[in-house]
Symmetry: C2
Subunit: 450 residues, 2 copies
């Protein structure tokens, strides 16, 4: 169903038809439809609540988890305590926690008031994990089994509790002290005899992560091993939760978005583009603009040292943008590839010399090509061999320096435990711009005898 027909059904109060059409849809699509409808004038908070109440209880709760937090807040404000409890019962614990993190304090306390004491305790624990930790993305809803039960008993447990767990297909075998001793999959149990003991078919060589591990590292680990879920243990090695593949995928996408922002000299924002206010956008962009602008003072100072030469041959100025631009592009090509390679763990610190040597050879090939093309262009347009030589030699020097700086600085930043994506940016552009101008004017002075 598209936005127009949904609005029409709602406008004509054809709720029965609307309900039957919505029931055929996936909750993620209903939530997307609500977002679209919300943009139109005919759809307001009242409509949102009405539409929500049309949905069958379970579908309503699932749709709720896919909505933006502002819509969630409107709904919670309108909910009776009974409705609120219904939703929270349907939500997975980690989704509840995600939701609570976005809510103002009065709604949070209302939500917590409507959960049972066990859930409330778990929510509070999850809320206390640092923002980028594994604990903050895990869920405490997993199936655990004792090692001495049979496959048949295990299946009975799964039947009883499976529907409220985020995944049942990997079950975790824990000791009396809640220590993780093995994992067993539903497939293992399906192919085993029903009287087999869990401890006889469990895999004891288990890879787990700690609640305080970085969530990005955990997501990468899961991607490396193709895990659908990974167990999370606390500092005493007790099993406290699992992280599922869908959350790992979201983490990887968010971290990528952060890296894009950093490389564009933007302080990463918490929210999406539209949900970040104009003021917050400006606040996240101004710091690097200021730093980069003031560091360009150095470049300005260098070019001011050559004012005498410029006054003699003003045409020199017209090649400045090209030389500096090419240097900048070469540097950012190298730094981006290296930073990405390090993020994907393909490039490691011990590869430093291998990388620098590779970039050096790539730089030579690029430099010679650019120098020949532009040298010939200058020769043809200006019919001036010396000028063509100045441009060609400056390009070679600039390209090589830019690529070496672009390769080395991100790795040095990493060696100093700084974020390569952030630190490399201003340093590279300042260093490369300065080097480009120094090379250009020095070569020009030498060859043109000025």
């Amino acid at each position: 169903m598209d936005r127009e027909s949904a609005l029409e059904l709602l406008g004509n109060k054809q709720f029965f038809k609307l309900k039957s059409e919505l029931q055929e849809m996936n909750p993620a699509d209903i939530a997307a439809l609500v977002e679209e409808m919300y943009g139109s004038d005919e759809f307001d908070e009242k409509n949102l609540i009405m539409l929500y109440r049309i949905l069958p209880k379970e579908l309503a709760a699932e749709t709720f988890t896919y909505m933006e937090s502002d819509k969630q807040m409107m709904l919670i404000n309108a909910f009776s305590d009974k409705e609120l409890r219904d939703v929270i019962d349907e939500l997975y614990l980690d989704d509840t926690v995600d939701m609570i993190e976005e809510m103002p304090a009065n709604l949070v306390s209302r939500i917590l008031k409507n959960t049972d004491s066990e859930t409330r305790k778990q929510i509070n624990e999850l809320l206390n994990y640092p923002k980028d930790s594994a604990g903050s993305v895990m869920t405490t809803e997993f199936v655990y089994l004792r090692r001495d039960i049979t496959v048949k008993e295990a299946f009975e447990q799964i039947r009883k509790i499976g529907l409220v767990k985020e995944t049942v297909y990997t079950c975790y075998v824990i000791s009396t002290h809640r220590r993780l001793v093995g994992i067993v999959t539903v497939l293992d149990m399906l192919v085993a005899d029903e009287d087999t003991l869990i401890k006889d078919i469990m895999e004891t060589n288990v890879i787990s992560v700690n609640t305080h591990d970085d969530r990005e590292d955990v997501a990468k680990t899961m991607s490396k091993y193709d895990f659908a879920a990974i167990p999370v243990v606390d500092n005493e090695d007790r099993m406290v939760g699992i992280i599922t593949f869908d959350d790992a995928m979201d983490v990887l996408q968010e971290e990528n978005t952060e890296d894009f922002a950093k490389m564009a000299a933007v302080v990463p924002a918490e929210d999406g583009y539209f949900r970040t206010s104009v003021f917050d956008h400006a606040k996240s962009r101004i710091p690097w603009l200021l730093i980069l602008m003031l560091s360009a003072t150095l470049t300005g100072w260098i070019s001011s040292q050559f004012e005498a030469q410029i006054a003699l041959i003003p045409m020199l100025v017209s090649f400045m943008p090209m030389i500096m631009g090419t240097g900048g592009n070469c540097g950012s090509q190298s730094s981006t590839l290296i930073i990405r390679g390090m993020a994907l763990e393909e490039i490691r610190l011990k590869d430093f010399f291998k990388v620098v040597f590779k970039e050096f050879r790539v730089a030579i090939l690029c430099a010679v090509t650019l120098a020949v093309v532009n040298g010939l262009r200058v020769l043809i347009v200006y019919k001036d061999v010396s000028l063509a030589l100045v441009i060609a030699l400056s390009l070679i020097g600039t390209v090589v320096i830019a690529k070496l700086v672009g390769a080395a600085l991100p790795m040095l930043a990493k060696a100093l435990h700084l974020d390569p994506a952030i630190m490399a940016n201003p340093l590279i552009s300042t260093v490369v711009d300065s080097c480009s101008l120094l090379i250009y004017f020095s070569v020009a002075s030498a060859i043109l005898h000025i």
Copy 2:
């Protein structure tokens, strides 16, 4: 086990100890260990083959799938036909196809010769899907059920064939014409009575994709709905395969890597950093460097139009890098955020005016801040009100234009069905650089009366 102790055990021919240590490891880690060892002088092709043969058959085959393709080739070259068949039997079909795509023709034909005719047919079909299509990442190994069987019969089928299927937890219900009519999860079956018919518990509202859909769109769909697997149908609506979450994760990471490359003005390479040769690196970087270098001719031409003014006040040149650099940074901030927003489908074409208006307001805040800071700096350093005014006004004009161009061009590219990440790059830098210089020299001419 780390690299050093593995090399030592291998060197001392302590194969029994080596084997027992390797057996405790995960195949992905063994493959990583092999890659590390391969870097050392003491480890050659012979060691690789020896180490491989130490491993138990199943672990060996699993480890094989995680190896780099050059190691895979060495091993295949050394394999007997029997060993080759063992490996191929253990591999999932999509992994076999991935491997074949990297191999020279003689190895491909040897691999195909050692598969049974049904597998060979499926491999050939998978090889024929276009590179970025859903068909190219799917596997044909999934569990399908008839709708008229009972849960008990379904479990018997899963027990029989489950171990060679990539996932059994979602089963696909197909009609006699291989049309997908529903899906049923193992959990649904576990909680149902064993005499229930599959058709009574299957979900008929199934989201599927076509073999020719773009693999990135498919991965995004899976991430949106939190699917562990998605069914793939052909043009006649027959079910031909599934795509699993681990491959979707890989696709998203690869596409992100491509986007990083494009934004750094690099033609995306097929392979990782080290596996791409120096020559191929140069080939993927030179095109954009050339285009950007030659388009900077326009900027050069603009500055040459102001040679008279420059000759009068050579100091004007020293602010050029700062003005152009700030313009470039502002433009790439906007374009990167917009391109990423479009890639994540948060920003759509219909949001054009909303985005441009938002960027305009952000630009005003950034522009005023930068203008005030740098205007004051110039006033203090040069004690020249007119010059400070020139710099401040030029910055305001440059920042606003750069942000509007940076916001609008990627969206226009998308509207013209061009890749925003590629098209935006050269155009934005050319337009922004030219505008910056025009604004700067015009403002300077007007205020300084030159």
